[in-house]
Every structure is written in structure tokens, then in C-alpha cells.
């Protein structure tokens, strides 16, 4: 009925959905299971079908105020309640509050004889009775296939099942029907023929000795859905399907910066450090100081009063604390203040997905602003490289959505392929720092450079990277004619330059003295010349004066002589004098 109605709508509104409340599942189904329709959950034994179904009911009753009926064909209500109590589901309480009805349908082959024609109205009546008793909106039938074991007339069963699914739709309840996986088909008894709206497949697969549960939406009529296989876990709080966020790439990108804890590194990263919420990868060979770089970030973050979470895959907590103390970074106070939490576990301890869940759980509890994983390459030992990559992708997505900054260290092998990040995750990273060893003159020295840093101006320089008692120190390297100089070569170069400086200095001083002396000499020469000049000038003056005196004397003599000769009066005398003067000139 509903189906036909939906078909006749020219432009159907988005399919109404019933949220399952199962972490992550509502993301991949874009809202939940089809409302008012049956959904088939199939999977092998032990794949989590019953748990899936019960969580759907419990969450429906507790979170969405949709009471539910659980028709159990395999377990009694008592057994069921016990089995799910470990997940924190209190069925007895829900039953007492009329949020849930558990009806155990017992089909005992030895008690039942069949002959002739019959129908399953008894089942319908019981179901209807339970639904009406609490106004149920959700129904689980777990698992209808038991009917095939208890009753032999397959023709009647099929007809009745078909009637049952129509009846469920008419009732408007959102139903889950579970079924065992069959050979080559989804279910052993072909239940998928009856349930055409939504089929979800659960799987529990073992690869490399690790069991991973996976869920896949095989079919979802009238709705978009994630089509991949998504790992899921049965954790302490029920099922969680991961990846929680990788359906869309929709996290926002904060522009806020957080310091790296190493001032000179901040300078290299546009002067301000990493972006908040970005992913940072440090890759390098063994012993290049990756963990120390992370410790600085942790220290700086905790110093600001923000929380940090460290996942260690290689060292224990106390080992890390001791090692970092040796470079002057004491993380212990932050642990005591509750700002730092360290989770150390071998990647091989359990499957990757379990790691993912553990990380999610810790993150949800602790809400860190910085998350460090050291080293991330080790994760691939808990699964294949591809699995590790997909785990990281989902982790990065998850943390970006939470605006947590992630800091991964990646161990590269020493075969000169530093720019391979181990598990091919570099494209997921926003900032990639590379630390590597330079082996020259019989020593290894660490250098660091920023391989990439999205969205910020960053230095293209190589820095020498020194681990000192008081933390990491970045030093400019010397680029000489023989290449980059680090370590003692750099020191030698510095010494050489210093001595050259001294030589230059003394040479300069000598030259200056010489010039000073020259100046002095020139000055004294100038003085001597000055004296000469004065003498000459005096001479000149003397000569002038003598000349005037001689003229006056001459005129006097002439006047005396004229007087004596009784010559013409003054005019003649003047004339004579003038003509004399002219002669002289």
C-alpha cells in the first residue's frame, strides 16, 4: 500500500526515516531506517544481528520515544535481557515502563505436528497484541527463519511471510527482520524477496588473524546511502559504526594558529605555528627526534590549559615521560593536572577497528584539543596498509570535525625514501615536517624542513635540529661550497670564519694606522709650506715698503737737487717726476 502510494507521487519528498540511534549508522543511511517499513538485517551467526536489532529498539524507546516490540524466536526474554545488560541496556526497566515488550516465540518441533492447511494468524495476533499494548512504533522479528525450522510447510510459510510484511507496513511500524546469511544469497530462506525496502548486511570477517565486523547497506530503496563496507564494533555502549564522518568532507577550516612549542619552528611556519584543527605529520628515520617534536607541542598546549591526548604504539607512558624529561620537557605535571592523557597500546593487541573505537571513546570522554599518535606507521602492523590508511582517514576526518589538531609521527625506513610517509598518508596531511639525518664527516646530524604546509607561508630553509638538555633547538645550517654543513662541520666553519674575522680585523687596524701616519705626515708638510708662504709674504711686504721708501727718497733727493739747481717751479718737477715714474712702469 505505502509502496504504491510512494510510486504515484511525481516528486517524492525525502523518505521519512526512523533514526536507529546507533552511532554512525544514521550517517551512512542518511537518517536511519525507512520509517514504517520493514528492514532486513542479514549476516552470519555471531555477526551482531540481534544486538543491532535490540539497540534499534532500546534507542528508539529511550531516545526517540518510540516504544518497541521484540519478538524473539531464539532466546527467551530473560536470556536476551542478560545478554544485552553488558551493553548497559536495561530491558526489564524498559518493559516495566511499557516502553518495550519482549515476546518469546517458542517453536518446538517435537511438540508440533502439522497436517493440512493452516495459517500463522497466531503470530499476527500476538504481534498485534504486543504492539497495541504499548503503542509500539518499532518491531523486531529475530529471527523469522526459526519458523522454517519449526514448521515444514514452506509454501504456507512463504505465503504467510509475504502477508506478514504487508501487515507490518499497514501497521505503520518500522520493523527489523533478521535472517541468517545463506550460501550465495543474502539469506538462507530468501527473505530478501519479501523485504524490498532496505537490506543491511552484517559481516564478521577474519583477515590476518584479526576479526573485523563490517556493515554494508546492500539496498535502500528511495534513499541515498553509503555503499561501502563500514567497520563497526560492539563496544561497551552498543554498536558503533565507523567512520562517523567520512561520508562528507564538510568540516570547516579554522584560521586560528597554535604554537608548536619551538619558537624557531613557529617562525618557519609563517611565524605563528600550526593551524588549529589541522593534521601534522612528522616523518623521519629512527631517532630523528619525532617524538621530541610532539612533546614540545604537547607541552605548549598544556601550558595554555588545553587538553592533549597521546596515543603511544611503541613506548609505555613512563618510558615517554622519562625520555622527554631528558630533553627538558616534563610532561608529568600535566598528567597530574588532568590536562594530558596517555594511552599506550600495541597495535597488534587488537584489531585496527578496536583501536579506532578505543580512540573514539577516549576522545569523546576527554575532548582533547591536540591528539598525538606516535608512531602512526605502527598501525599497519595491526592490519594491512590499506586498512591503516582508511583508519587514519577516518580519524583525521573525525578530529577535524572536532577541531582537534592531530600530530602524527611516521617512521620511515632508512633507505633514502624519506618523502614516502610509510603508509601513504601524506596527502591527508596539512603540514608535513621532515626530519632526517645527514651523514657527513663521520657523524650524523639531524636536519628539519617543512615539506609542505597548506594555507600558510612557510620557510623553504633547512634547519639543523638539535636536541639539547632544554629542548629542541633549531639552528641555521651553513651552506658552503661542499654542501650543507651541520654538526662539527658547522662548528669548524664557524671557527674558521671567526679566525678569518680576526685576521681581517688586524689587517684593517694596520692599514688604518698607516693611513693615520700618512695624514700626520701630510699635515706637517702642510704646516711647513704654510711657514714658507708666510716668509715669502713677509718678504713681499718688505720689498713693497722698501720700494715706497726708495721712491720717497728719490723724490726728496730730486726736490733737493732741483732746489739746488734752481729749476722750474713745482710743475716741471712734477712732470719730471711723472715721466720718471712712467719710465719705471
Amino acid at each position: 500500500m505505502n509502496n504504491r502510494k510512494a510510486l504515484h507521487k511525481p516528486n517524492p519528498v525525502p523518505l521519512p526515516k526512523a533514526p536507529t540511534g546507533i552511532q554512525g549508522l544514521d550517517d551512512i543511511t542518511e537518517g536511519g531506517l525507512p520509517l514504517g517499513r520493514p528492514t532486513l538485517i542479514c549476516g552470519c551467526a555471531g555477526s551482531g544481528k540481534t544486538l543491532f536489532a535490540i539497540e534499534f529498539l532500546v534507542r528508539g524507546a529511550a531516545q526517540y520515544n518510540q516504544p518497541g516490540v521484540f519478538m524473539a524466536f531464539e532466546e527467551t526474554g530473560e536470556e536476551l535481557a542478560q545478554n544485552v545488560a553488558s551493553l548497559g541496556f536495561d530491558l526489564k526497566d524498559l518493559t516495566a515502563r511499557k516502553k518495550m515488550v519482549v515476546d518469546f516465540v517458542k517453536i518446538e518441533r517435537s511438540e508440533i505436528r502439522e497436517m493440512g492447511d493452516y495459517d500463522l494468524e497466531g503470530l499476527f495476533v500476538r504481534l498485534g497484541y504486543a504492539i497495541d499494548a504499548i503503542g509500539a512504533k518499532r518491531v523486531v522479528l529475530d529471527s523469522l527463519e526459526t519458523l522454517f525450522a519449526g514448521l515444514t510447510d514452506a509454501a504456507i510459510l512463504r505465503a504467510e511471510l509475504s502477508r506478514l510484511f504487508h501487515w507490518l507496513k499497514d501497521k505503520g511500524v518500522t520493523a527489523i527482520v533478521t535472517a541468517e546469511r545463506g550460501d550465495g544469497k543474502l539469506t538462507r530462506h530468501g527473505l530478501e524477496e519479501y523485504v524490498s525496502d532496505c537490506v543491511i548486511l552484517l559481516d564478521n570477517r577474519i583477515s590476518n588473524q584479526f576479526a573485523t565486523r563490517r556493515v554494508r547497506v546492500v539496498k535502500y530503496r528511495g534513499s541515498r546511502h553509503g555503499t561501502d563496507e563500514y567497520p563497526f564494533l560492539i563496544g561497551e555502549r552498543g554498536l558503533s559504526v565507523l567512520p562517523i564522518t567520512s561520508v562528507g568532507l564538510s568540516h570547516d577550516a579554522p584560521t586560528e594558529r597554535i604554537p608548536s612549542g619551538i619558537p624557531r619552528l613557529d617562525t618557519m611556519l609563517g611565524g605563528k605555528g600550526y593551524f588549529r584543527g589541522s593534521s601534522i605529520l612528522v616523518s623521519g628515520t629512527a631517532g630523528t627526534g619525532k617524538t621530541s617534536l610532539s612533546a614540545h607541542l604537547v607541552d605548549a598546549t598544556c601550558r595554555r590549559g588545553e587538553r592533549t591526548l597521546i596515543f603511544l604504539f611503541e613506548e609505555s607512558q613512563s618510558q615517554l615521560l622519562r625520555n622527554m624529561r631528558s630533553i627538558g620537557v616534563d610532561l608529568e605535571p600535566w598528567i597530574r593536572k588532568g590536562l594530558l592523557r596517555i594511552h599506550a597500546a600495541r597495535p597488534t593487541l587488537y584489531g585496527l577497528e578496536s583501536h579506532l573505537v578505543a580512540m573514539h571513546k577516549l576522545t569523546d570522554e576527554f575532548k582533547p584539543s591536540v591528539v598525538v599518535m606516535d608512531p602512526v606507521t605502527n598501525l599497519s602492523s595491526g592490519g594491512t596498509v590499506n586498512e591503516a590508511k582508511s583508519l587514519l582517514t577516518r580519524l583525521i576526518d573525525y578530529y577535524k570535525t572536532n577541531r582537534s589538531t592531530t600530530f602524527f609521527t611516521s617512521l620511515t625506513t632508512g633507505d633514502r625514501t624519506e618523502e614516502a610517509s610509510g603508509i601513504g598518508i601524506s596527502s591527508l596531511m596539512d603540514t608535513w615536517l621532515l626530519v632526517r639525518d645527514l651523514e657527513t664527516n663521520g657523524e650524523r646530524n639531524r636536519v628539519l624542513y617543512v615539506l609542505k604546509s597548506r594555507g600558510m607561508a612557510h620557510s623553504n630553509q633547512v634547519r639543523e635540529f638539535k636536541l639539547t638538555d632544554s629542548g629542541i633547538d633549531l639552528v641555521d645550517v651553513y651552506v658552503g661550497p661542499g654542501g650543507v654543513l651541520t654538526g662539527t662541520a658547522r662548528l669548524a666553519q664557524q671557527a674558521r670564519e671567526a679566525s678569518e674575522g680576526i685576521a681581517l680585523q688586524s689587517e684593517f687596524a694596520g692599514r688604518k694606522r698607516q693611513l693615520d701616519r700618512n695624514c700626520l705626515a701630510l699635515n706637517s708638510q702642510i704646516k711647513a709650506l704654510q711657514l714658507d708662504l708666510e716668509t715669502v709674504q713677509e718678504e713681499l711686504k718688505k720689498i713693497g715698503a722698501q720700494n715706497t721708501f726708495r721712491k720717497a727718497a728719490e723724490a726728496h733727493v730730486r726736490a733737493v737737487m732741483a732746489k739746488a739747481r734752481y729749476a722750474d717751479p713745482l710743475d716741471n718737477g712734477v712732470h719730471l717726476a711723472n715721466s720718471n715714474h712712467r719710465k719705471e712702469a
Binding site: D103, R113, E114, G128, A130
Partner: protein, 118 residues
């Protein structure tokens, strides 16, 4: 098998000694509503009891629409279902009751005399 048969006979002898006219069989017939199939089943069951069990039976007819809780408690899923509640063990017969012989065998309702006759 022979052991159970002898014990059953012993039991039967004891009970018949205690009182022959007692209600020996407690039967319940579950039907759904007043459909022709229900009516036929009721008729078949009554005939069968009258003819083969003499006075030593008690037959209850229950409409599961009226008493759904009972259907749940008695684990009824199909109708019509004829339940032999006593003597133990519980036996259920699902489906067509028109063939009396098969019903009697199916529910193990054959009384002693007939047993001996066979």
C-alpha cells in the same frame, strides 16, 4: 521405545484403576475468529472427541482474537492448533483436523482399549 510403552501402560492401568470416568484428556483448540476454517476446525474437534474419547475429555475452544494473551502464553503461532495439555507431555497439532485418525495419532490420543485392539 518398548520401555516407554510399558511405563505408559503401567500408568494407564494405575489411572484407570483410580477412576475410569474421570476427565482424562484436556484439550484446547485455538482458532482465529469465526472464519469457515475456524468453524470447521471446531466441528472436527468436537466430533473427534465425542467419537473417540468418550466422556473422558475436556475441550476448550479459544478464539485468539478474544484472548491474545493466552495465545502468547501457550506459544500459539499457527491456527487452527489443537493442544493436548494433559496428559503430559504437551502436544500441538497444527492444521486440518478433518482426518480423525491422523489427529489421534498426531496427538497421541489413542485410549487404552484401542491401543490394545491394535
Amino acid at each position: 521405545m518398548p520401555a516407554t510403552q510399558t511405563s505408559r501402560r503401567k500408568k494407564a492401568r494405575q489411572s484407570s484403576a483410580a477412576g475410569a470416568a474421570r476427565k482424562k484428556f484436556m484439550l484446547r483448540l485455538y482458532v482465529a475468529g469465526t472464519t469457515p476454517r475456524s468453524a470447521q476446525a471446531i466441528l472436527d474437534a468436537e466430533n473427534l472427541c465425542e467419537q473417540h474419547l468418550g466422556g473422558r475429555f475436556r475441550l476448550e475452544v479459544i478464539d485468539i482474537y478474544q484472548r491474545p494473551a493466552l495465545a502468547r502464553d501457550e506459544q500459539i503461532i499457527a491456527v487452527p492448533t489443537l493442544v493436548r495439555r494433559l496428559p503430559e507431555p504437551l502436544r500441538k497439532l497444527v492444521g486440518d483436523l478433518s482426518n480423525a485418525e491422523r489427529v489421534l495419532v498426531g496427538l497421541d490420543l489413542l485410549v487404552r482399549d484401542e491401543h490394545k485392539l491394535r
